[in-house]
């Protein structure tokens, strides 16, 4: 693993977001939607509490749509345009390519999160929030975005079609959220052993994200997201290797 080469791949990928309208469209929609959700649906002012919980509560739902849109091009486009043949015949390892591209997308979502700082400013003007909790919320949200992106990266490796990559990763991401939802768990609870039920719910992004965004940065939640990312990136590398011939 050569950090220098990961950096070169990372920079090219990140620059490609800004060479096309993708970056601006993504950022604008992310900021608009996260604002709209927080103020209208989340009752930010009505709650009369100085925190960003309603803001973070909507992130999983926002990500289900937006992250697959960001991730869908990661590998599908390389395969469709044939540049994958160029990239993988240069002296880089598969791991470097997968990580470099993933990190670019992840940093881009980090940038989107940073650009929501007016939200943080507002809540600090209106009251005296616990900024530690807010920071934890940001960290949790970014980790969750990484998880979604790793899933999206894998689905993008599956197909040359960005549309298929988008739809499939949105569905898989949704499954990862819903597996923690009471409604879904109820559906399983009638006929599934309790142990499997708790495994299903422990796989949910929601369970882990919610505990982080309440301000509890538990090591287990960190490990969960990091290992999730590692797992899906590993799967990405294997899939690319299997599918690159097509």
């Amino acid at each position: 693993m050569n950090i220098g080469r990961i950096g070169v791949i990372f920079r090219r990928e990140l620059a490609s977001y800004f060479a096309t309208p993708i970056a601006s469209v993504f950022l604008v929609i992310f900021l608009l939607l996260s604002g709209a959700f927080t103020f209208y649906l989340g009752g930010f002012f009505l709650r009369g509490q100085a925190d960003l919980l309603p803001f973070f509560d909507f992130h999983p739902w926002l990500y289900v749509v937006l992250i697959p849109a960001l991730a869908m091009r990661l590998w599908a486009e390389e395969r469709k345009s044939g540049t994958i043949e160029l990239l993988l015949t240069m002296p880089v390892t598969m791991g470097e390519a997968v990580i470099g591209k993933f990190l670019a997308a992840w940093c881009f979502t980090g940038l989107a999160l940073i650009l929501t700082f007016p939200m943080w400013v507002t809540v600090n003007i209106l009251g005296e929030p616990d900024n530690g909790v807010i920071l934890a919320g940001y960290v949790g949200s970014w980790l969750m975005a990484g998880g979604f992106l790793a899933i999206g990266s894998c689905m993008s490796a599956l197909t040359k079609s960005q549309v298929i990559a988008f739809v499939v990763s949105a569905v898989v991401c949704l499954a990862f959220i819903l597996s923690g939802f009471p409604l879904i768990l109820d559906f399983f609870s009638g006929w599934t052993p309790h142990m499997i039920l708790s495994i299903i719910s422990s796989f949910s992004f929601l369970t882990h994200f919610q505990s982080i965004s309440k301000g509890v940065l538990d090591l287990r939640d960190l490990v969960y997201f990091v290992s999730l990312i590692v797992f899906w990136l590993f799967a990405t590398a294997i899939l690319i290797d299997m599918k690159k011939a097509e």
């Binding site: 791949i9 345009s81 043949e85 240069m90 002296p91 880089v92 690159k244």
Partner: protein, 318 residues
């Protein structure tokens, strides 16, 4: 110099399809090997395995002594590759793209700038460096592809149909570039344009259905043509049956072919029985009979004919 590319028993299966079926060869410095073959012969698949993009079902590839599977980074560092269709990141400019390729290959700073400048001058890209690649013409896109392949001055250069889809001037330009680089590199290129073989290759290999059918210099391939050394002549004012018979008696002659007539101008072709030159014998026969010959020439054999004969045996010329 030694063998820069060594390929042993290369095979690739795609499910039930055997795309490449036991290909072995090696290429030395200074050689330009032309891969010929009909569409679907397995040329691209072979190149994809040689460059380490595809994993072979069986067989080994060594680039400058480094096995492409065991030691991919060392092998790939010594390779330049122009894939079919010259793919490139369309939303980048050639300047940014070449910088990326150079950085991936480990060049930085002044060294990187120097290599980019040299390469850009070599392939004449200077005028379009700051335009996105998607807006470039086909010829320029191909040059971008060539530029990324030779940026690091690799000892081994592999190009999949480098002149496909270019106009005659652009083709000429790409061929000149390849010839100029040939001396200190080992080059493999695929093509289905046979004139290209004469223009650039020192060696040609015909592949069909995944197998190497023949391998030799372009001249050696031409000699396999039944037409090679045949003598074609046209004459007037004589009885065609007599001529046919007399030509058949020429020492060393094989078949005599009647090529038809325009008015009383009759054309014949005399094939040598064993590929040897028979033009002296044929002219002696003409002199002895006192025929009025209007045309007389020796055929050299055409690559495309050998190509057709070897790749579609059933429809071969006689």
């Amino acid at each position: 110099m030694g063998r820069m590319v060594e390929i042993q028993g290369l095979r690739k299966e795609f499910g039930p399809i055997v795309a490449v079926d036991g290909v072995s060869f090696s290429v030395a410095q200074g050689e330009v090997l032309g891969f010929l073959g009909p569409n679907g012969a397995g040329k691209s698949t072979t190149m994809k395995m040689v460059t380490g993009f595809l994993t072979p079902t069986a067989g080994t590839v060594k680039i400058c002594g480094y096995d492409i599977q065991e030691d991919p980074l060392e092998a790939k560092a010594r390779l330049g590759y122009l894939p079919e269709g010259a793919p490139a990141y369309q939303d980048m400019t050639p300047a940014a793209f070449l910088k990326f390729v150079g950085e991936i290959r480990g060049f930085r700073g002044a060294e990187l700038d120097r290599r980019i400048d040299e390469t850009v001058a070599k392939v004449h890209l200077g005028s379009v460096m700051d335009q996105t690649i998607e807006t470039l013409s086909k010829g320029f896109k191909r040059r971008v592809g060539l530029a990324q392949a030779i940026l690091h001055d690799p000892p081994v250069l592999i190009m999949d149909e480098p002149t496909d889809g270019l106009d005659p001037n652009q083709k000429h330009e790409v061929r000149s570039l390849i010839k100029a680089m040939a001396r200190d590199k080992a080059i493999i290129l695929s093509t289905h344009i046979l004139e290209e073989v004469h223009a650039v290759c020192t060696r040609a290999m015909i592949i069909a259905k995944g197998k190497v059918i023949t391998d030799g210099t372009p001249g050696e391939l031409e000699r396999q043509s039944p037409l090679h050394n045949a003598v074609t002549l046209a004459l007037t004012g004589v009885n065609p049956q007599d001529i046919h018979a007399a030509l058949g008696m020429v020492p060393g002659a094989g078949k005599v072919e009647d090529l038809g007539h325009e008015g009383d101008l009759w054309r014949f072709r005399v094939y040598p029985a064993h590929g040897q030159s028979i033009v002296t014998e044929v002219s002696r026969c003409i002199r002895d009979h006192g025929w009025d010959v209007v045309e007389l020439y020796v055929e050299h054999g055409h690559l495309d004919e050998v190509f057709r004969m070897l790749t579609e045996p059933r429809q071969a010329l006689t």
